[in-house]
Symmetry: D2
Subunit: 318 residues, 4 copies
């Protein structure tokens, strides 16, 4: 059975690979993309998304809606230093000529789920502004979707944007708080990525050597990021948080452990902006409604990912 | 020249009088109303607004759009204890049978101002959730409106909801922060109301004695509030913050002093949630963009208000 | 009956006048001074205090103890731009050669009140660090003193350091919070000073013309401050918050209205650091334990103050 | 060479074992103990400390000073539910009849380090109130001590008091912030304890079987805690955070990895009160002054600990 998916993305870096996975897998049908303020300048993100869809040959079928151009409440800064200016490594600045779909991202989400209640899965791989806005427009959003998969937070571990926060939650902590409070979410955090969704140098070699368009695209967009990671994290391994999120939608069996915990987000400015409080021991009296993915089948995920890059077919070994 | 006005309201208490003023004055043309979470239960507010329009005989012409049913981020509680259950004094629970307009409040605002750029004035007499949501949808909102008039905040004075905050700013401090940061606002605060927009017992007598439908309506909705005020503020004077906001749109010359100051809002939970920081001395380096109304022609305002109640014609003495 | 007084001071500007009042009035016996981090560099403050005692001829009798050199928790900056470098107008940098008393300010306070339980009054005219430290050493401090008089806070009015805070509370908001929570305080805030303890140009003329040492000292230390006030507040009137605090100890009948309210302080960094929440309407459930002075006998205060400067005798007209 | 040690402790549970280690090891000479508000009621803690010293036969030589009876600024609650009423498991309420030393804990620390500059090591195994108070009294504290060893914080891992905070930092986050900002600290956090300083059921067996007074004491005080841990953490293993801190003073070579990082503490009330921000990647511009112990020689630590309990001699295998 094909899962119908909406991707909400601040398209740069690994967002593109997640989109490719969704576009190329037979297990998923991309309904639409919504763009949200995040990684790099908004208009670059829109182009990056369109370019990626074009690369996968689905630009005609998957409309791209522009959403919130800034977080709900807080100010923020782009991270061009991570993904390179433009968000695709620093050399690639697509100009596809494809028109954005008419309408506002959060509306598009609301209308789609109203039309197909219980059938759509939201894969959220950027700051959660669009989703929070959709919630204000449609308080019953949670009942109308099949599943909400979020890449975000740093579950009782070091963050990647500040020591206390992961980037998506840091950019719009208010939206993250709203979403975690009001929706049943499957959460894949930065810690999971660090443990199980990084590709080490040796794992990257086959991709570097391959000459498929997807592998070339991957090499291009990761070049800058790998340098940055080398510097910040002391390793040129690549991290694939967004791809992992999409992969668990393609193949739910990837998820091995995912207990439900109470999750809250610190939305205040200061030391802990965007901190994800995950109550693993049930100490607080908050409701344990978030499914926190703690471990996945790492080998299988990497097979899916590599099959996509080397063969254009993430489902190849499924 | 008639000013075209959108009223954003959590209709209860004085919101009704502001709507009546707008509906009955020839200086103002009500384009539409949007309802926002605030004073009392959302659905009551919607009915209260429709009932008020009906009373003024304009229910056919002025569509009522339902907007945000909760604040951007924070939780809040209604203040039934202030306005009586239902928001109209506790005895009156209208059920007009009028349909709400199709569409979402914040969208209605955006579409209206896009259609008539520079021609519409927003009169905001509730929490600012709808306006903040409109800003996320249309970042150029400020350029598209003629003026944004806000009743809110407590300018370096005691608040009415907590000691540090006025109700509208307290309910949705995030929205208030966003609006004060991103729009040029004419602000009428709770302090101004306390100084110049309260009707004392003797001023209320003619209204109590009058038997016009507007005066009767006023008596009904203020009965509970006057008791509450007697208890909390030690006086049964009524306060007309929202009416004053609308009156300054009907007659801009009511405004006597309105310097521009930098205004910020504390959106954090805790002691100062909803606190309005107004930099009267220019100590901070924030931009002085908010026009803070410090004094009005009180006698004239009261004439307008009383003319409306006693003669159904706020313009009578203009 | 003479009241025995401890003055806790960040000696600069009006602190000196308060000390003079205490030293020259027969109604008060200065037991000791403690110096706290505040207005200007700590060592200047110590010298300023000693110089002032010397000027009043009591340097031999009143020991000066050095207290906390920084706030309990927060970082802060001096306000040399207000009081002039050094804190006495910018030209005067005393070097008295007088030794500080052996011991730590907060200890000196604790030991003094333990020796004379119920007999000493604390007049606190600087940030409240020393008092909070004394409280941690002696939890029964409140039972051991006769009265605690604090100059601090901005009661539902504009602050003088930031729009939301008065200087003493801003510098050490944690200490202010602790003191307001744990002691019964008589509070004289910045708003009271603005309303009733400012000397206008015409009131200052006799002082300027007088050639007594006290008047000359006053002229010197206020010269810079008056320029600063002219610039910031648009008036070269002088403000005498600390003198007023001491005057109410000399002559308690100066106080006309002083209801008890619940007072809390925002100790958080940010927009409202040092904000004094004063619950004038009893809305919160906090205990109404702080005696907030709302009005004084202004003429009489000014007589006391002027008598001190012109005749060296604050009690002259009492 | 013997290290001279001051122990600052909220004596309950493992604090007692740390004191025993210090008292029984020839590598350490206990100079004095200071008691600080924390685990259980203050007066119980004082008695617990004296009882422990008596058990080790050093009650005559090691004075116990009473320090701060509450945190610098925040309110807090005891954790009788963790350590049992009284803090020694719930059955044992010592009443030693030993007098506390004259003087205030923070003063005793200041006086001791002033007398022997550079010679004393502070082993801080409670909330850091006393240390922060000592810092306010003696700003040069850091220069006067040999080393400051702190058990506290949860370094990018789940806390034990709330999900975001370890108990000592949670109780007095302001003091923790002050200490981390103003002193060079060797920090042993809760995460290290969880990884390397827990004794599992099988490791506890020999202790349970032994009938030495120390082993009996250990069994008694851990009985309640093990039940509590079983419930909260799903394991009846005991945790020895304080013992580990003291063990690293007895045998510094226990420490295997201890890089220096910038550490800050969130002192705000709310979700992240007491959160320890540890900048492992050097992302912030804070100074990397805290030596964060990341790994120790676990086997050796356990040998020291067991030797103490079974043979009364922690140095037995050194
Ligand atoms: Ca992303
Ligand atoms: Ca309203
Ligand atoms: Ca002062
Ligand atoms: Ca402890």
């Amino acid at each position: 059975m094909t899962r119908r998916v909406i991707v909400d993305t601040d398209t740069a870096g690994d967002d593109t690979q997640a989109i490719l996975l969704g576009a190329l897998s037979g297990a998923v049908e991309l309904e639409l993309l919504t763009i949200v303020a995040g990684n790099v300048e908004f208009d670059y993100q829109v182009e990056n998304a369109k370019y990626t869809l074009e690369l996968a040959g689905v630009a005609d079928e998957v409309p791209v809606y522009e959403g919130a151009r800034r977080p709900l409440v807080k100010e923020f800064e782009h991270v061009d230093h991570v993904h390179g200016a433009g968000g695709l490594g620093g050399e690639l600045f697509p100009d596809t000529g494809i028109e954005s779909a008419e309408g506002y991202g959060p509306d598009a989400i609301v209308e789609a789920v109203r039309e197909s209640p219980g059938e759509l899965t939201l894969v959220c791989i950027g700051p959660l502004t669009n989703i929070a806005l959709a919630l204000r427009r449609e308080p019953r959003l949670g009942e109308l979707v099949e599943e909400v998969v979020v890449m975000g937070g740093a579950v009782n571990t070091l963050g990647n944007d500040t020591p206390s926060a992961e980037f998506n939650f840091w950019v719009d902590p208010d939206a993250a708080k709203v979403v975690m409070r009001e929706l049943d979410v499957t959460l894949l955090d930065w810690g999971l990525t660090m443990r199980q969704a990084t590709l080490e140098s040796d794992e990257l070699e086959p991709i570097e050597e391959a000459e498929t368009p997807y592998a070339d695209f991957f090499d291009e967009i990761t070049a800058h990021l790998r340098e940055f990671s080398e510097e910040r994290f002391g390793s040129d391994a690549t991290t694939q948080p967004d791809s992992l999120a999409m992969a668990t939608v393609i193949e739910p069996d990837l998820v091995e452990e995912a207990p439900r915990y109470h999750v809250d987000v610190d939305e205040r400015e200061g030391l802990t902006r965007g901190y994800s409080m995950v109550d693993e021991l049930g100490i607080t009296d908050g409701e344990a409604r978030t499914r926190v993915v703690e471990s996945i089948d790492e080998a299988r995920f990497k097979t899916i990912f590599t099959d996509m890059l080397l063969h254009g077919d993430p489902d190849r070994s499924l």
